[in-house]
């Protein structure tokens, strides 16, 4: 029944159901935020050059064409960018690192336990912010405080994907071949940019990580995966 319904729907839509299959990592992912200053493109989290540190990267407003579009792109003073860190395994943020633009600088607060969790936030001004001047393509600015390092500014999009071929795959127009082999495939994001916010934080400031969720959920045996925080990024607009 399910399949019958789906096929009927597909017939009616002419495979349009797949046209929005996988535009990008999170770039322009939903109509309410696509093309706005709160649109998240990507989230990365990895061990820093200093193995005692974790690097958190949020990219926004992608994809940006090189040149004027990138040079004119601005962080929004009304948009609070939050790295959320769950260190108990319940997917509720126990720590946040907040970033918000004022003037020519990005102000970072935290890591700090949020006053409130969930969809609404306030800027956690009980802790002193660290400011870093927002970089330009030619002028890279970083700031360091309490073992943390900060950056905000335009960067090359690190995301790679044959987006155009994908649309053909999704529409069925290149069935049954599917994607192209290496060498023929084309990286849509190769020549595009994003606005990036980068924070490198000592793990000591994040505390103990919980049992990996895949172990906790019984999907992997105990010890198969290392303890891990659950991390996500959110953008919140001033009301």
């Amino acid at each position: 029944m399910k399949k019958t319904k789906l096929l009927a729907a597909i017939g009616g839509l002419g495979l349009a159901v797949l046209a929005v299959f996988l535009i990008a990592a999170d770039h322009i992912d939903a109509p309410a935020v696509a093309g706005t200053t709160s649109d998240i493109a990507d989230l990365y989290a990895f061990e820093g050059d200093n193995p005692n540190n974790t690097v958190l990267i949020a990219t926004l407003q992608g994809p940006l064409e090189p040149g004027n579009v990138t040079n004119n792109a601005q962080f929004d003073e009304d948009v609070l960018v939050e790295f959320n860190i769950d260190r108990t395994g319940d997917f509720v943020e126990d720590l946040v690192i907040q970033a918000i633009k004022r003037g020519d600088s990005m102000y970072f607060f935290g890591p700090v336990g949020p006053t409130q969790t969930g969809l609404s936030s306030i800027v956690e001004t009980s802790v002193a912010p660290v400011a870093v001047k927002i970089s330009t393509s030619a002028d890279v600015q970083t700031a360091t405080s309490n073992g943390m390092t900060f950056f905000a500014g335009p960067r090359r999009d690190a995301f790679f994907f044959d987006f155009n071929r994908f649309n053909m795959v999704a529409s069925g127009s290149v069935a049954p071949e599917g994607f192209l082999p290496p060498g023929q495939a084309d990286d849509f994001f190769d020549n595009l940019n994003v606005l990036a916010i980068v924070v490198e934080v000592p793990n000591s400031l994040l505390g103990t990580a919980p049992t990996h969720v895949a172990v906790a959920a019984g999907l992997f045996p105990p010890g198969a995966l290392p303890n891990a925080y659950n991390v996500w990024v959110s953008t919140k607009r001033k009301q």
Binding site: A45, F46, E47, S120, D186
Partner: protein, 224 residues
């Protein structure tokens, strides 16, 4: 009457100060406005904050901010939410409250297989992937644990064949990993373009000439 007396006193004090004036050895004079002199002066909006020279006052960060977008793992909302409305709702639902999306995600996962099966003229259903996750479990993981699992110790990777779900590096090919988890079946090679199958487990694109070995901030300068 009382107010009058007070005013008189104040005038007297001010007058005496005026007469005394500022001697040359007065080292308490604030000759230059600064953002650390402990008083509100110049065009400061508070004590040592605001205005053209100083950092913003705490009041500049006031207000309530409400969520518009959120992201954990790459591609989740775009791939598995089947309508604009669901995509918007997913972004504005707390991570721990997304159980209502699981059934739709599973239907979407199966739907992709059905669509491609139609193109090939055969029935195709999702098969448990290389992580051993069947469709309901995969849909649960995708919808209800949508965060990057980030291990402070050990190798960071989204999936490298050995390690899994310990973060996301810049070089991780998250598209190929995602496609493999969706279409690769138990051995990861179910629809890999070989033996007459469609190529659905890799988009054929790698990082190209990107440099992922840079020091902080790790990302390259913008394309010009």
């Amino acid at each position: 009457m009382k107010t009058y007396k007070f005013k008189f006193l104040l005038i007297a004090i001010c007058a005496s100060l005026f007469v005394v004036g500022c001697s040359d050895d007065d080292d308490n004079v604030i000759e230059q406005v600064s953002c650390s002199d402990g008083i509100q002066n110049g065009d400061e909006e508070g004590v040592d904050c605001g205005g053209t020279a100083c950092g913003p006052c705490i009041s500049a960060f006031s207000g309530t901010f409400v969520q518009e977008d959120a992201m954990g793992r790459p591609g989740i909302n775009t791939v598995f939410s089947s309508s604009d409305n669901i995509k918007n709702n997913f972004n504005t639902t707390i991570v721990s409250g997304r159980s209502g999306f699981t059934a739709g995600f599973e239907a979407q996962l199966e739907g992709y297989h059905d669509v491609y099966g139609t193109a090939l003229g055969v029935d195709i259903d999702y098969e448990a992937n290389i992580l051993g996750l069947d469709a309901p479990t995969f849909a649960f993981v995708l919808s209800q644990t949508d965060a990057l699992q980030v291990a402070p110790n050990g190798t960071t990777t989204y999936f490298d064949g050995t390690n899994a779900l310990t973060g996301r590096t810049l070089s991780d090919d998250v598209i190929d990993i995602s496609l493999t988890l969706m279409f690769g079946g138990t051995d990861g090679m179910r629809f890999d373009g070989n033996n007459g199958t469609p190529q659905l487990t890799s988009d054929g694109v790698g990082p190209g000439d990107r440099n992922f070995s840079l020091p902080f901030p790790y990302l390259e300068t913008p394309n010009q």
